[in-house]
Amino acid sequence: MCERCKAHLAVVGRLALLLACPVLTRAGNLPSGQDFTQIDRGRYLTAVADCAACHTLTGDYPFAGGRPIETPFGIVAAPNITPDRASGIGNWTEKQFDVALRAGRRPDGKMLYPAMPFQYYTRLNDADVQAIWAYLKTLEPLHHEVETNRLHFPYDIRAGMRLWDALYFKPGVFKPDPGKSPQWNRGAYLVVGPGHCAACHTPKGILGDDQEKQRFQGYSLQGWFAPSITNDPARGLGNWSSQDLIEYLRTGHNRFAGASGPMAEEVAHSSSKMTEEDLAAIAVYLKDQPGQGTVGKPVSPGNGMMTAGSAIYQDLCAACHRADGTGSAYLIPDLARSSAVASREPTSVLRVIIQGARTVGTRDEPTAPAMPPFGWQLSDPQIAAVSTYVRNSWGHAASATAASDVRKARKDLKSHTQ
C-alpha cells in the first residue's frame, strides 16, 4: 500500500474513533485502549501483580472486591475495581487510576492504606500502568459496594497516611542497574514492582514499613512466616537451583517444598500464569540477593526438648517426612531443606503443626497434598519440642520454641479469618 493511502486510512480511523467515543480523548501517540496487544499485556500484568488475590472474593465475581485483608492494624477490604460507575472505577480517568496505583491516592484525594501495595507498584513503568488500565476497562462492570476501612483506631483515620507516606513512601519508577544483565533487571523489575514480593518477604517496622537492610529476609504475617527468599543457604533459597525456583513458582511444588497459605494463592493466581522467561528472570534476580549469613549454634541434641521432639517426630511425622526429614519429592516437603522450617521465627512451623495445611494444586502439579492438623492431639510443650527438634536438626539452627510460643500461636490462629 502506498504511503498516501496509509495516511488516508489513518485519518479515517481516527475520525471513526472520535465519532464513536466523543468524550474520550487521549494524549500523544498512545495505543487506542482497544488494542489487543495492550489489553493482553494488561491481563498478564494484572496476574503478575496478583490483583485478584485481594480484589476478587470469589471466582464468580472477578475484581468486584470485598475480600478482607488482615493487617496488624485491623482489616482493610479491597474495593471493587471493575468498571462499574457507581461502586467500581468506571468513572475514573486513566490518570486517576495511575495516581491510585502508583501514588496511593484516591480521586477524592484521600490516601490509600499500604495494604494496597502502591509503594511497590510505584516502580511500574508508564506502559505497564496503561496496559493494566486498558485491561481493567474490558471487565464486566459488577455492582458491588465495599466498606473498605475496618481498621482499629487510630489507624482508621486516613489522614494518618500523610505522615506514613512522608516517612516511608519512596515514589519512582524502577531504575535498571546498568551493571547487571537485562535478564537480572527484568527480574528485579518484576520482584520489586508488580510482583511486590517484599510486601510479605521483607521484615517490617512497627508501622509496616520495609526494613531495607533486611530485604527479602522473611517476615511474619497472617499467621505465617513468609520465609527468606534470598540466596542464603541456611534460611533462604541457597539450596535451590534456579530451575527449582522456577518450578516452584510455576507449579507450586518442587523437589523440596510445596506452596501453602498465602503463597499457595500467589502461585494459583499469579506466578503459575507467568511466562517461563519472566520466572527465569525472577530466579536470576533472587539468586543474586545476599542473605543474612550466619545463623548461630543449634540447640544441643542432648537438650531435653530435642529428645522429646525427636521421639514425637519419629512417632508422628516420620511416616511421611521420613526419619531424615527428606519427605518425598513434590509430595511431602523436605524439612531438612525447608526455608519455612529454618526461618528466624517458628510461625509457619507452629501453624502447620497446629492447624495443618493444604498445598496448592496447579495444572502441572494437581495433587495438592495436605498435612493434617496435630493441634488437637499434641500439647503445647509437645508441639514446642517437635518444633525445636525440626528447627535444630539436619543442619538447621534456631532458638528453642517455648510452650508459651505455642500457646500464643494457638491464640493468634483463632483470630485469623482465613
Binding site: 511421611c320 513434590y330 509430595l331 495444572r363 502439579e365 494437581p366 495433587t367 495438592a368 497434598p369 493434617p372
Partner: protein, 592 residues
C-alpha cells in the same frame, strides 16, 4: 414433586473407581458431568490422617468407612425356599460408601483375569465337554476378550502406579513374574514391593515344590510415582493399615490419589456428595433414560435430568436401581428367564493358619501392606487339568499377610482356651511365629441358576423402596475346588517348616456373617445375547441405550482374582466406546 435441576450431559451414580474414571474420560470430551454420591466427600489429610487412621477398633471393627446398614441394607437367604432376613451388621462383605468408594479402603490387589476367564463357557466346554459342567451352572462368555481389554488394564495400572513383576511381556515369559498371565504390552509402571520374611520364605518353599511364585501386583507404591494425569503418590511405608482403612500417606492407589485432584479442577465436573439416587427416570417409551432422582440429607427430592446416565454404584446397588426403575426384565430362576439379578456371585476364600517354632522363626507380621505377598497361579482358572478332579475354576494362593494388627492378629494353636491367662500366653507365644494370610486361597465362584438377586417382598428401605434380596449358597463345584486348593496351599506351609498347619476349608452353607471379600459380582451381566445378559459388550443396557452400567455387576461369573483391575479395565473399555462411537451417534452400540 422433586425439584428439577438444570440438565447435564451426563449423570454418574456413585463416585468410586468407575465413577471417577468415567467422569474423567467424559469431561475430557467436553461434556458437562455431574457425579452423585450417596456418601460423604473423603480426602486423605482431612478424613484418614496419619495421626489417627491406624485405629483398628474404629475402622476394622466398627466399620467407619462403610455404608451404615441403618441407611440401607439387603436381605439374605441361602435357598429359594428360605425366608430372607435383613442384614443388620456387615459380615461376608463390606459395602463401600462415600467418594472413592471401595477404592478408599481396598488392599490394592490389582490383578488381570486370565484370557480363558473371558471365554469361560466356550473354553471349558471345548476342553472337557459340555457334560463336565454342572447342569445348573450358568457361566457364560463375557463378550469381550483379554486382547480387547489389555490396553485398558494397562491404562489402569499406569494410573495406579501398580507395583509388580511382569510374567508375560508380549508373549515372552519373564523370570520372576506370573507365567500364566495373559501377554501384557509393557512392564508394570513400578517394580514389585519388597517382601517381608514370611512372604520370601513362602516363595522359596513354593519354588522348591516346583511352582513359580511371583509378587502380587500391588496398588501400594514401591516407590514415589507420578501418574499420566500428573498426580503424585508417595512410597509405601509398610504400615499394615490398608484394607478397611484409607491410606494416610498417599501411598495406595485410590480415586483420591490418582484421578480426583485432576477431576475437581475441571469446570465441567460437579460432584454432589451425601445425595442418594433413588431411581433412574425413563421417558414414556421406557427405552430412554431422562435422568435420575436423588434425595439429599434434608430429605428433599431432586430430579437431575441428563442425556446419558452411567451407573457406577456397588454391585448390588446397580442391580437394585435397575430393578426399581423397571429397566430390563427381572430374573426369574423358576422360569430361568430374565436378566436383572441373574448370575450373582461372590468368591470362594479359605485360609490356613500355620505355627512355627518360635525359637527359629520371627516374622514381624506388622511389616506389611495390603497388596504385598508372594503368590502362585498354578491352580487358578484353567491353568491345570481339571479332568481328574471333577470341578472347574480355581484361584491364586499366596502368603498375602496384610497386617499384624492387634485385635485381629491373635492366632493360637488348636486346643487353646478361648479366653483367660492361657489364651493370652498362647497369643504372646504365637504372634511372631504364626502365619495367617489375609486371603490365602482366593478361589473363583461360578454362577448358578439359584444364586441371584431380586427385590425383597417384605423389607423396605427408609424411602419405602424394596430392599434387594440375596439368595446365595455354595455349590459342590466350589466346595471341591476349595478343598483341593486349600490342601495344596497347606503343603507349601509345611514345606516352609511349619510345625502345625490348620486348614480352614470354606464350608457350606454360605455364611453371611463371615468375612470373605467385598467382591460381589454379577446381577447385571454383560454378554452378546440379550436373553442372558443385561448389558452388551460395551456395558450398555440392551433396553435403555443411553444407560451404561459399570462395575463388577457386569461379570457373568467371578474368576479367582480380585476384581478391581478388571472392572476398571471394563470402565476404560466402555468409556472408549462412548467417546469414539456413542457420542457421535447415540444409540445401541451393538445389535443382535
Amino acid at each position: 414433586m422433586p425439584r428439577r435441576l438444570p440438565s447435564k450431559d451426563v449423570a454418574i451414580v456413585g463416585l468410586g473407581w468407575t465413577g471417577s474414571i468415567l467422569a474423567n474420560e467424559l469431561t475430557e470430551e467436553g461434556l458437562d458431568v455431574v457425579a452423585i454420591e450417596r456418601g460423604p466427600w473423603r480426602d486423605t489429610a482431612t478424613d484418614y490422617a496419619p495421626n489417627y487412621v491406624q485405629d483398628e477398633l474404629r475402622y476394622r471393627i466398627r466399620h467407619e468407612l462403610f455404608l451404615r446398614p441403618g441407611q440401607t441394607t439387603f436381605t439374605f437367604r441361602n435357598k429359594m425356599s428360605d425366608n430372607a432376613l435383613p442384614i443388620r451388621t456387615w459380615g461376608a462383605f463390606m459395602p463401600p460408601n462415600g467418594v472413592g468408594g471401595g477404592g478408599v479402603h481396598w488392599n490394592g490387589e490389582t490383578w488381570r483375569f486370565l484370557p480363558s476367564d473371558f471365554v469361560a463357557r466356550t473354553h471349558l466346554t471345548q476342553r472337557y465337554g459340555a457334560s463336565f459342567l454342572p447342569a445348573d451352572m450358568t457361566i457364560q462368555d463375557w463378550g469381550v476378550t483379554y486382547a480387547d481389554l489389555e490396553p485398558h488394564y494397562d491404562r489402569f495400572e499406569y494410573l495406579c502406579g501398580t507395583s509388580g513383576t511382569a510374567g508375560n511381556l508380549q508373549g515372552k515369559i519373564q523370570p520372576g513374574g506370573n507365567p500364566f498371565e495373559g501377554p501384557r504390552s509393557r512392564p508394570y509402571p513400578n517394580p514389585a514391593q519388597r517382601q517381608p520374611f514370611s512372604h520370601a520364605l513362602f516363595a522359596k518353599a513354593a519354588q522348591d515344590l516346583g511352582y513359580k511364585p511371583f509378587p502380587q501386583p500391588s496398588g501400594n507404591m514401591s516407590r514415589a510415582y507420578r501418574n499420566p494425569l500428573g498426580v503424585r503418590l508417595g512410597p509405601c511405608t509398610y504400615c499394615g493399615f490398608c484394607e478397611w482403612f484409607g491410606c494416610a500417606n498417599y501411598s495406595k492407589a485410590s480415586p483420591q490419589t490418582t484421578i480426583l485432584p485432576v477431576l475437581v479442577r475441571k469446570a465441567n465436573f460437579q460432584a454432589r456428595d451425601n445425595c442418594e439416587v433413588t431411581r433412574i427416570n425413563l421417558d414414556s417409551s421406557g427405552k430412554r433414560a431422562t435422568g435420575v432422582t436423588f434425595v439429599d440429607t434434608s430429605g428433599e427430592e431432586w430430579e437431575q435430568p441428563a442425556d446419558l446416565v452411567i451407573l457406577c454404584a456397588y454391585t448390588i446397588f446397580n442391580v437394585q436401581l435397575l430393578l426399581l426403575s423397571g429397566i430390563g426384565t427381572p430374573y426369574d430362576p423358576a422360569a430361568n428367564h430374565g436378566v436383572i439379578g441373574r448370575n450373582f456371585t461372590h468368591q470362594t476364600i479359605s485360609d490356613v493358619t500355620s505355627f512355627f517354632d518360635r525359637s527359629k522363626f520371627v516374622f514381624n507380621p506388622f511389616i506389611a501392606s495390603g497388596a504385598i505377598g508372594m503368590c502362585i497361579d498354578e491352580f487358578n482358572g484353567d491353568n491345570f487339568d481339571h479332568g481328574p478332579h471333577g470341578f472347574v475354576g480355581g484361584g491364586y494362593m499366596g502368603q498375602v499377610q496384610t497386617n499384624g494388627r492387634p485385635i485381629e492378629t491373635t492366632p493360637v494353636p488348636p486346643g487353646t482356651p478361648r479366653w483367660g491367662a492361657k489364651w493370652k500366653q498362647a497369643v504372646r507365644e504365637s504372634y511372631q511365629s504364626a502365619l495367617k494370610p489375609g486371603t490365602g486361597v482366593h478361589g473363583s465362584m461360578y454362577s448358578y441358576r439359584d444364586v441371584y438377586l431380586d427385590l425383597d417382598p417384605t423389607y423396605k428401605d427408609r424411602f419405602g423402596r424394596s430392599l434387594v434380596r440375596i439368595t446365595m449358597d455354595f455349590h459342590d463345584n466350589e466346595l471341591k475346588q476349595n478343598r483341593f486348593l486349600t490342601d495344596k496351599f497347606a503343603d507349601i506351609f509345611r514345606a516352609m517348616g511349619a510345625g502345625q498347619v490348620v486348614k480352614e476349608y470354606r464350608q457350606a452353607p454360605y455364611d453371611i456373617t463371615k468375612y470373605q471379600t467385598t467382591h460381589l459380582c454379577g446381577g447385571a451381566v454383560m454378554g452378546t445375547d440379550p436373553g442372558t445378559s443385561a448389558l452388551n459388550r460395551y456395558l450398555q443396557s440392551w433396553d435403555v441405550p443411553n444407560l451404561f452400567v459399570m462395575g463388577a455387576s457386569a461379570f457373568p461369573q467371578n474368576a479367582g482374582y480380585n476384581p478391581t483391575g478388571t472392572l476398571a479395565a471394563l470402565a476404560y473399555w466402555s468409556a472408549q466406546a462412548i467417546r469414539a462411537r456413542y457420542l457421535k451417534s447415540p444409540g445401541p452400540l451393538q445389535h443382535v
